[in-house]
Amino acid sequence: MTTPTTVAGAVTVSLRDRLQQFLAFASLLVIFIVFSVASPNFLTYGNVLAILYSTVVIGTLALGTTFVIITGGIDLSIGTGMALCAVMSGVMIVNADFPLLLGVLGTILFGGLLGLINGVNVALLKIPPFIATLAMMLVAQGLALVLSHSTPIYFNDIPAYSKISRGNLIPDFPNAVIILAVVAVIAGVLLNKSTLGRYTYSIGSNEDATALSGIDVRKWKIIVYTFAGLFTGLAGLMISARLGSAQPATGTGYELQAIAAVVIGGTSLAGGKGSIVGTVIGALIISVLNNGLQILSIPQEWQNVILGCVILVAVYADMVRKKEA
């Protein structure tokens, strides 16, 4: 094999990859421009910030679940798991007077624990991911209510807690968005450059072949679910910091929004394919749509109808493009 051929092959592949991300980005841009033209209130600094700010929770959940979906799995427990983590944060910081930093770390690690349990159920007990995480979704939902006695826990006495989300390390720029950006970069680097990421893709491509290649698939699946759980914990932290309270009865539906973001971003539910850039763009598309439709005073009920259609179009377009490529 001669070197020139190799180089030519490499160029074609990376160009196609870039085109894929360009297409997702282009659709985001088109939606953005349409709204900008449709309403003068859309393209303002304040509103763009509001869009970014509203992306944080779904975005964080979507980042972690991207890994799970690339392994060919699914995690339905991230929505109510997030609510449970928020409640745990309240229990630790408000009820038990934990120092703030410890409580914050504890919340994120508690999310990791939920993920670990999912991972053990899926990888060791071989319970199908859909079922294992559906069960965890119910358990988390119930536990959130039990631990909080079905009442919200307010962080009113700990003003620093809200600063995690609403504070401005950079003037006029909410911390939450910075945190999302940082974890997105971390997730992207891990998915592309770490052994974790590499095994995530290979498990999703062919779990049997990966195991027979001498990779400890069970261990790595547990790690992936645990890793996704850390993002659930972080999302629980971010949503309670934003609201200034832990709302035990929330969370349902967030998992589907996060999965929608991942899917719009071109990650295949069959596993083996996907990217963090895609997921970020997918989450942004959902936020921009919600925000823009609201500004155009389109009723809430219709927003979900439109979002549903967007998911169908996005996935269908992706399939057509892959068939051509």
């Binding site: 190799t6 195991a211 001498g214």
Partner: protein
């Protein structure tokens, strides 16, 4: 060699199916170029060609899966163009694919008549009528099938019979079989050939695609050869040697096959398996593998050869048994452990158990070695991986435009080389090949054989499980023969002949050898008796 490119006028009355000047292109590839083919009445026509020669494409055109760009098809002298597999079936052309289209959770009868179930009234199905209908068909075809059996519980050979019964239930006039014997043992092949002989009649014909020359010699009347999407020749089977057919396929003459040199008894025993048993099948399996040796594993399907391999590498659980590596006992609980001990397993089913099909060559070659060679602090070294993959591609001469080519786009032979490269990079001392040349065309097989020989010359040890007897006899220094989960014989290269291997392969471990020799013919003689 007798070419039989008859003048079409004279042959037309004898012709059942004809294809003329057929071309088909896919983006970037001309799969078929002006190919013709004619199938006569009452004939079994062999169709051969290396992988990529266009056999499958031609069959897919005949059966309506693809539409031809150019060319015409005639059935009984009438022009036709099948627009869908259903349409082709209605015309009387049925195809049995290499990979079956069966629903494992449905019964034999439900599979045969899927979409055509007998009904009571408009909506209700009549299970009894369905089973009666299937029983009639099965009896007419003299197949050893039970209409109510779940297809998933049947052996591969019986599943194939279900496919055949399904095809013939459409009153097929042309039966196309794509590599029908790839997963069958010799007795099952004989049963299949019997069935084909019964099917042929002045109204029908069979197109039989195969890589196995001995079978083509036995079953076919004529053989059509394709090469690189083009028609090469049609020859009369009786007047042609199979060597000549192979040289038509590859466009060159193959050198005569060499046998391996004598046993290597002086060599160090690298791997010693003692008393290996599993719950399901294996009983007290013991053997030694020496350094620089190819140890062949022969036996019929289901004898337990693959199970031995999977048990050794920890893919399946064992009940008892010890594995000694260089004289020391080792515990292998998973393929990950096996990889640590430098034992690699190369499955017969590369797509399911060997490759990350959607990933590139680079990812496939490096996957086993990432942890050891290509990572530090949890991060992967992409550049080092690419350098290593590139070197593997060059040294094994893997034909790929680049290491970033997706694995599924490679030919079978090159996919196998990718899997070999993976284990070489892991620096495996022991490689267990399960059917190393399955689905690989004749020319590439030679390359794989040469590669196996060069591996043992470098001091690697190889266990080679193979259902192709000529392959085992040609490659193995010693042959272990299994039957029903036990080792029934171990033969040196000098002792191993097709007859001696088949003798041990059909030996029932628990019974006396004379009864067992007839085991392979059991099903056939039963049917003969009923008739």
């Amino acid at each position: 060699m007798a070419f039989v490119d008859d003048d079409p006028e004279a042959a037309s009355s004898a012709t059942l199916l004809r294809a003329e000047g057929v071309s088909k292109s896919f983006p970037g590839v001309k799969a078929l170029s002006e190919v013709h083919l004619d199938l006569r009445r009452n004939e079994v026509l062999g169709l051969v060609g290396e992988n990529g020669a266009g056999k499958s494409t031609l069959m897919k055109l005949l059966s309506g899966i693809y539409q031809a760009d150019e060319g015409e098809f005639f059935l009984n002298g009438e022009r036709f163009a099948a627009t869908s597999p259903r349409h082709a079936q209605e015309l009387g052309i049925s195809i049995i694919h290499q990979e079956f289209n069966l629903m494992p959770d449905l019964t034999v009868a439900q599979n045969i008549f899927i979409g055509r179930e007998p009904r009571v009234g408009r909506f209700l199905l009549s299970e009894r009528a369905l089973n009666d209908k299937a029983a009639d068909l099965i009896e007419r075809l003299q197949l050893p099938l039970a209409p109510r059996a779940l297809v998933g519980s049947l052996t591969v050979a019986k599943q194939q019979m279900v496919e055949i019964a399904k095809a013939l239930s459409y009153d097929a006039r042309v039966l196309i079989m794509d590599e029908p014997t790839a997963a069958l043992n010799d007795a099952e092949v004989a049963t299949l050939h019997e069935l084909i002989q019964r099917f042929r009649s002045p109204d029908t014909g069979v197109i039989y695609i195969s890589h196995r020359m001995d079978e083509l010699k036995a079953i076919s009347d004529r053989i059509t050869v394709l090469r690189d999407g083009q028609y090469v020749a049609t020859v009369d089977t009786r007047a042609t040697t199979m060597k000549e057919v192979i040289s038509l396929m590859v466009g060159r003459t193959l050198s005569s096959e060499a046998r391996p040199e004598g046993v290597r008894e002086d060599r160090e025993v690298l791997l010693s398996v003692q008393g290996l048993s599993t719950k399901a099948l294996l009983k007290d399996v013991s053997f030694d593998l020496r350094k620089g040796e190819i140890l062949g594993f022969a036996g019929l399907m289901g004898a337990g050869r693959t199970e031995v391999a999977r048990a050794i590498v920890g893919a399946d659980k064992t009940e008892s048994g010890t594995v000694l590596l260089r004289g020391k006992p080792v515990q292998i609980h998973s393929p990950a452990d096996a990889a640590q001990y430098r034992i690699g397993y190369l499955s017969e089913d590369r797509k399911q158990y060997g490759l990350l099909l959607e990933q590139d060559v680079n990812a496939n070659i490096t996957i086993s070695s990432i942890g050891e060679l290509f990572s530090s602090l949890g991060f992967v070294k992409d550049r080092a991986m690419r350098v290593a993959s590139q070197r593997s591609v060059e040294s094994l001469r893997i034909k790929t435009p680049s290491i970033l080519q997706t694995a599924k786009n490679l030919s079978g032979g090159n996919q196998q080389k990718v899997v070999i490269a993976k284990w070489l990079l892991k620096d495996c001392d022991i490689m267990i090949f399960d059917e190393p040349t399955r689905g690989i065309d004749v020319g590439a097989k030679e390359e794989i054989y040469a590669l196996l020989n060069s591996l043992v010359d470098e001091g690697k040890s190889i266990i080679m499980i193979s259902s192709e007897l000529p392959e085992v006899l040609r490659m193995a220094h010693r042959v272990v023969v299994m039957s029903e989960g036990r080792i029934t014989g171990t033969l040196d290269a000098a002792e191993a002949t097709p007859e001696s291997v088949m003798h041990y392969a059909t030996l029932r471990p628990d019974e006396n050898p004379e009864d067992a020799a007839e085991l392979g013919l059991e099903t056939l003689t039963q049917e003969e008796g009923e008739r």
